[in-house]
Symmetry: C2
Subunit: 392 residues, 2 copies
Amino acid sequence: MTEYSLFTSESVSEGHPDKIADQISDAILDSILAEDPRARVACETMVKTGVAIISGEISTNAWVDLESIVRGVINDIGYTSSDVGFDGATCSVINIIGKQSPEINQGVDRENLEEQGAGDQGLMFGYASDETDVLMPAPITYAHRLVERQSKVRRDGTLDWLRPDAKSQVTLRYGADGRPEAIDAVVLSTQHNPEISLADLREAVIEEIIKPVLPAEWLSAETKYFINPTGKFVIGGPVGDCGLTGRKIIVDSYGGMARHGGGAFSGKDPSKVDRSAAYAGRWVAKNIVAAGLASRCEIQVSYAIGEAQPTSISLNTFGTETVPHEKIVAAVREVFDLRPFAIIRDLDLLHPIYRPTASYGHFGREPYALAGATAFSWEKTDKAEALKAAMT
Amino acid sequence: MTEYSLFTSESVSEGHPDKIADQISDAILDSILAEDPRARVACETMVKTGVAIISGEISTNAWVDLESIVRGVINDIGYTSSDVGFDGATCSVINIIGKQSPEINQGVDRENLEEQGAGDQGLMFGYASDETDVLMPAPITYAHRLVERQSKVRRDGTLDWLRPDAKSQVTLRYGADGRPEAIDAVVLSTQHNPEISLADLREAVIEEIIKPVLPAEWLSAETKYFINPTGKFVIGGPVGDCGLTGRKIIVDSYGGMARHGGGAFSGKDPSKVDRSAAYAGRWVAKNIVAAGLASRCEIQVSYAIGEAQPTSISLNTFGTETVPHEKIVAAVREVFDLRPFAIIRDLDLLHPIYRPTASYGHFGREPYALAGATAFSWEKTDKAEALKAAMT
Ligand SMILES: C[S@@+](CC[C@H](N)C(=O)[O-])C[C@H]1O[C@@H](n2cnc3c(N)ncnc32)[C@H](O)[C@@H]1O
Ligand SMILES: C[S@@+](CC[C@H](N)C(=O)[O-])C[C@H]1O[C@@H](n2cnc3c(N)ncnc32)[C@H](O)[C@@H]1O
């Protein structure tokens, strides 16, 4: 499902510094939305050796103990001692959060609630393809599964010398029919404790992380493995690399297979179209593919700050459409309402649902990967029938 | 040159908070590279009300007065008083920079210098199309020119009530031939001082910023203008919005028209392939289009940390190639050496050249837009002849 014969995507674990920042930002968002669904939240986090700084703009009447939330997220990830490089109990937590500018707010709030303006200008893409059962590109799907597996075998004690920070990368080879055919290269770097030897680590990573996750028929003698290629990765987390919210936007979305508008997700309440319209874009694209109207679909929407209606809606089906392109465009306009108010209502976004989105991808996640949480509303294919009906 | 009939891109001015952060990170990088070309720099910045926090990992023997550099950048942009919301002279500057992890360093440095390993894993894209004379997509090109013009008329006093923070967005309509045909919508929000009325501001923005920049033949009675749609934008800069390095990666590159690997540029020395390989990707793609081998070209490269050779190189010419695709792929491998050492050598990247890249785009910039600086080496079409020669 691509014009490329080779395509590479990467992912990172929940212990990667940028992902620590994303999870803190979304945990703060959740804690506020739980008490005050009308709050305006834009929370940015920086983590570095021994410190987590939370910043951004929040307007709410909820009272939340932000320091405890920050410490809780860091501890939950597994950064619980100076030995592993970061300790949620003893690190410094600095809060420089301000309020939403009243001038932005006046552009967003409307007397007629339905006419709520977009919280910012911007462009967002949504994407789906029938390349995998979750209607996601295969390279990012398998890159996520590798680091999810790293987390699982770390947490359940299978490989008790693993530490939280890890990165994966998968290079897929596509056949002439545009279908994934083989894995050309796998990169996996994982933080570890100092006792494990490099040889043992590499063998364990292949046996316990790579083989259980990657389809055997795609692996061969030609597959290249790069496992902890630096040789040593004991220092990890914020000591090795400063982490910031919103710095893994390609990991968060489609692994580079789809275009990206540039807006980050974590820490933003859904009045920010960077988040809500990108979720809606996924929902639209996935329903089009689920309805069989195209086997690959990308949608771009854009907004002006303070305006409810998108400034543009535009669709790309890459020649895979099974009905005329204009009919799909017309059906999208008929079936989906892409004003911020309508997106928030239809996807039911004013709930504390965001922290689980902040690692292993915002899209293509079936409940399997959600540890108890329900599926994300933007993954529903509840509009496929209406789209089909609009074709007749 | 796109499958979309409408395409939207945005840009932001040098006074946008994320761009303040990018410019601080790159000014710090420049100041260190000027003294120590072998330094390792990964500098991340956060700006919020009254404070600039610099962080990341730096290993160098240069001695640099970082505080002065931070204050200088903020003042140069025009944030010189509490009246405009931020003051380089009196804001707080907090430094939490650490050193590069020796474990990463051991993966990157090699006895044989040519075999220098990539400073991280990752995927990067390069892109070019013959849609504009600078071989860039038109939407991002004009979005940049709007905010560059905002800066010019602010600085030269034409509109002396302008303040530094601004955003632009352009929705282009493409014809059936894939060529830009009309401008459907323009969004421009600019910070201003409280004395100017909204009506006067809107008229001045149309006359002094929009009309001088956008091609008249693309504007019509159908063009929609959204100028300061919130109605008021006196509060701007870091007070209105927390700024972080690397949060405008689509503005920095191709405005969403090309794919993106996710890596940010600013603050990173060129041992980081996120930056150097993305620059090289632009160079490769631009030379292919300049050589007439395709009218549109996107290249993906990927790396494993510590490895010199890319883990994948892959090319997409969207059916616009004038010679067989495999011949272009073979020529790229013959003409370009994409190991980090070779990129740094061929594009001459170990110099303090980065601060001007940190606003108005890293690509498609001819000297016109560079206020005295020379053109960026990755914009040279010096390999077009060699590529053509490889076809015979
Ligand atoms: C290589 S660091 C980025 C570069 C870093 N800022 C520097 O100054 O060199 C990016 C990520 O790689 C991973 N990493 C850290 N140390 C590593 C090591 N020794 N070997 C492999 N990967 C490592 C972590 O996930 C980290 O967040
Ligand atoms: C709208 S803000 C992002 C949202 C913000 N973090 C919040 O809490 O609402 C994004 C950018 O919009 C611009 N901006 C700030 N105030 C504005 C206003 N009153 N009207 C229009 N644009 C504004 C600035 O360039 C700012 O960096």
